[in-house]
Subunit: 157 residues, 8 copies
């Protein structure tokens, strides 16, 4: 993530990865304040054995796109609605609208949990065990919705 | 893709996958006009051996999100600026703003080529050969920019 | 509705239908989390004797449009401004901008009461008793405005 | 419709109603230029036997909402992207964002065909014959998509 | 104004008119809930001796434009950011984007005070005494800014 | 108007004033390129006998607001969609969103004709002859709409 | 700055200039309420020895652009999200979208600190001592990010 | 600039710098395709004697912000409306909304000429000769407006 202030949001990615038993590392690397570190981090990602990178940032959010420019690995971008953001449009468009050749897999505003799930899905495409965990997680969401509906029908909601 | 009219855009995904030697299938499946077929297509994707799904659609674009709700595989969404679109905002937001639990890896407006590259990157995360092809592709983009700059410096541009 | 969190908003539809003495059922059915249930719900609507369906959802709101794709009945869509929505634009555009052939009768952001009234108007088009109730309801709104004006003129407001 | 210039768009509603064998009348009535006529038209709609009203207008589009304020019948609004419109946002918001008590069933920008289909669905809710025609129409859309896909698979597209 | 809930905002127009000694009347008249009364109010404005009409409304705000369609007098529109407004864009565009022939003199979002000042300026164009009061009011604004600056320079701010 | 390129749009104001027999002058005065001339023009408007000022400009359009800051006369602003405008939003917001104390009577994007009509309405508020011309003009608009409708009904449209 | 209410935001510019040891003056000058003073202030800036002007304003923010029209010095504009702003878009577009010939160096919404840093960078381009202070400031930002990351890694964050 | 396709726009900066006799160099350096070159270019700018950098890019435009993160020199950003841009909003927000500590002096959409003028103004703040050229350029703009007005008054326009 680009800033310590993004931690509250980005922790959701960590939590879901943990619950899906996917090993991960988490770092604060700023495209604008520590560009050298960002270069090293992204350029060395393949050799360090990373499979997917999740990058979250707010405002003129350059971290996801710059990371994508420095590695052939898939990069997932989380637009964060920071203070003084223009309603989140700035981070959404700064991450989504990448030029041909350098895609960022963008998820919804503040949707760090979804970034974690997407990372698990990418890994799961080649790891049947992880794929099953993702399917199980989706099954639990389904049960929660059905529970909510049962409560509603029985007048508990 | 959701409609025959999306073919001109979505062909770019096919072309880049071909150039990266990634096998693929291409279909027209409409969330709103052939919902049963969409259900079958998405639900059977894992068992048919697909690894990644690219879904492109315009306007109130539900194909990517509905596909994602029906498979644990990673789904890449391509917002398409169709006629009568409100400047493309409708397809961008319909694809990007998915709820917790069901991410769509969204790329830029009309960026089918990037969807293809992202699919290759996802496969490349677990296939060193494909990863190398992605890295080579990026190298060629770099050379093209440098060639453009050389032409500019030598007065050819 | 698509989620238990939509209940506070969607209850307004239930309340107005009750006050207009229109029988109704209310369920939580998620396009993205319980797609099978949504399919069953919408596909069986005609045979179960429903006349109109009201579907409310937030973010990338696919429930109204997917329901409309699965039934020939009129579907009323309520865009809901959920947390992390981009100011409600996402749900408005995801519901409104449906492709040719599959309309959703969209009402204003969070306007579940209006969805209930519209449902009553649709039924009222073929049921003189219900039409009268709608007309009476509008008469009461008028009186309320006139009462507000009287208070203002007499210095009570 | 509010202006002669809306005819090209609004004719799509007439055409689909014709193809679904729904009798209709078509008029130019301007909220801003012929307000008296609009009042008479909307106020007398029930007594003249109308069941649904489709109102299309561009810019600060008041025709659908004002019609809805003058009749208990369901009113379908078609936002039209007129010249000097601000990208269609003006007509969309002027029609959609109606206050509590006076809904307009809004369809997508320029989607007059969908307005006609929605009118047929409303009538079909109480007329099994019309409902069947709507279902048949949707079936044809499905076949068209499947034909498009067949062409694509066989290399004709 | 269109609703009792607009009173807090619209009172600012009353206050400034009072302070500029311009006689006025204030009423709640809803385009959508009391359309007949709106018709009478606007149609009789010239004969009742009104010179300018200020109309404020939120959401799909039709009161200013409909009033303008029913009188040759100048109509000033105040867009109001009501609850469930889409950030005020709905009322701004519903009031501003009037078609050729029927202008509304639109002021800023919630700017009822400015509507009062504009009304005074319109009257002042033909009444030297009122024009002087407007000029004096502007002079006071100037002095207030200069006082603020003096405080800042002297360390009081 | 602020630039020679605005002439095509702003001429519509001149034409309608001519047709309503309102004497007027027309000038190019740029807030940003000829600020001194703008100051002189606006500051001397009252003493030169002007009653209303129409100011049209595009982009970051400061001419209407600055003119309003320099005269107690009513100022009508015409937002113009210039090349490189961001869809006209820049000129609309730069003209509309004036601070308390300094209103600009804003009309729709490119609506110079409406600016002319509004100017006539302002003059007409105190000149029965002009008011009658405005009413006659509106009557003609009405007839044109009714003629359009007759043509439609008789199959000529 | 244009108003006393902008002081809380604009003080950030003063603070950073102080910390970078750049001498400055701070004034409230309103384009709309004290236009004469604005003229004098901007026109005399070169002769008074100013090198850069920072102008912050909200809503239809004309202060930065008008200042730029009256001096050949570089002008930095700070869009301020004032009350009744339309999400800050009004001030952003009013300051950014200046016509050819009269640029304003616009910074992010409410980013008065960045305006101060940009002013220091402009001075630093020709003053090695100031440039060093800017570089040192950036170095401190870097250290702060790295400290945040260390805390995160060691479990303190 | 970030791409050869930006040359048509960015050439305007070169032309105005030439006409103001400011020496400059022009290069194509892509943040996303040639990140290493961008790092070298920006990091070495001070030591190579550059005083100001103009960076233009479209879409998710990261070149201006990344350049600013790598040099203490002032960086001017030109948002470019590229094909598949979402109306230019993406490049505007990606360049403008920089975080605290790393400003980019943003000019209007496609306004490369203004970027050149702003660069000249920055240099002119410390070079009386250049400042005079800027003042003369502005004088010529004024004369052009006045000529346009003369033509209009004499009926030539």
């Amino acid at each position: 993530m680009g800033s310590q202030s993004d931690l509250a949001i980005m922790n959701e990615a960590a939590k879901i990865l943990e619950s899906l038993a996917i090993p991960y590392e988490i770092s604060i690397v700023s495209a604008h304040r520590t560009p050298d570190k960002m270069f090293d981090y992204a350029s060395s990602a393949v050799s360090r054995g990373l499979k997917v990178i999740i990058a979250g940032a707010g405002g003129a959010a350059h971290l996801p796109g710059m990371t994508a420019s420095l590695t052939p690995l898939p990069v997932i971008g989380v637009p964060i609605k920071s203070s003084n953001s223009i309603d989140g449009w700035d981070s959404v468009l700064s991450i989504l609208q990448m030029p041909n050749g350098v895609p960022v897999a963008t998820v919804a505003l503040n949707a760090a949990q979804n970034a974690g799930i997407l990372a698990a899905q990418i890994i799961g495409a080649f790891d049947a065990e992880v794929l099953k965990r993702v399917a199980d997680f989706k099954e639990k969401l389904k049960e929660k919705v059905e529970k909510g509906n049962s409560d509603l029908q029985s007048g508990k909601a």
